[in-house]
Amino acid sequence: MFLRNRWYVAGWTDQFSRELTTRTILNEPIVFYRTIQGEVTALADRCPHRLTPLSRGRLIGNALQCGYHGLVLNADGKCTRMPTSATVPEWAHVKRYPVAELDGYLWIWMGRAEHADVSLITRFPCNTDPRYALARSEIRIHAHYQLIIDNLLDLSHAQYLHAYSLGNQDFHRAKSVVTVEGTTVYDRRTCHNTTAPAAFEHILGAGKQIDFWMDARVTPPGEYYLEVGTTPVGQSRAAGGGILSPQILTPETATSTMYHWTVCRDYDLENVALTTL
């Protein structure tokens, strides 16, 4: 079972163009394209006639023509022409999904359209803030999205699974402080008087004694935000540095999830090696 009346990330906004682009979200096949005016349209990827994928068709202006029998659907998903019929039957339409472009993501509302409210979208402004250097990518994980949520919130695994990158030998000393506010869960961990994990040595220099923190936040179903940083022992966080990392999970099926991640840093902005680390 999936939460339907929610916004999900379909991808990065620059992945959607005049090309027909497909995604599967919550078991539903969806075809996306931009209209001539640049707006993204998201339609159920099934022709109402013979249920073939509309994504096998072609664009005619702002309309989508099925590649099988030539039905033409407008950007609202309504059939406007059926080549073998003088009239268009009532049933000839497909679902159109509400979408919104915010913070570099294309968001899609998977529930009842009348409940779609853009103000409900969690904001991740660091993704498009020019003060940050940005690394981003996406991977498909063949697992239920809640297994990934558990992975991301239980960061004690960093010491073992990421022993030579994100974790260090002392991280078990970082007590997890869990709080819940509304529908958002926070997991905050700070490891005092340790050395920086390899992936974060560059912030203050290798071999120094530091305090190291990993603060995670999850708003179900799949909006995760991580702050990681280091600071000299006993000093405020502002004396150190770190990264901000939005990581958004979009369930495709019960056992497949698209994982969209970004890492934003506000130091050493021109260092390409760090961006591709």
């Binding site: 939460l3 529930g111 991977i139 994980i141 297994l147 949520i149 992975n151 699974l161 869960v185 995670a216």
Partner: protein, 60 residues
């Protein structure tokens, strides 16, 4: 970062293979036990699902 994510991907997919369709937390005979924060997130999902079902039933 990418290498670390691949480690996560490999471990989570192995976990998915091992647990099959069992629940992750909260109910059923067999569960994958999450830690405190993961369990809290799963409980919130369950509460939101229940609220959605009630909304759907009320609209029907």
């Amino acid at each position: 970062m990418i290498a670390a994510l691949v480690n996560d991907q490999t471990m989570i997919e192995a976990q998915q293979q091992a647990v099959g369709s069992h629940d992750i937390i909260g109910h059923g005979d067999h569960v994958v036990v999450a830690d405190e924060s993961g369990a809290a997130a799963c409980r919130i999902v369950e509460q939101l699902l229940l609220a959605e079902r009630e909304l759907t039933a009320a609209a029907a």
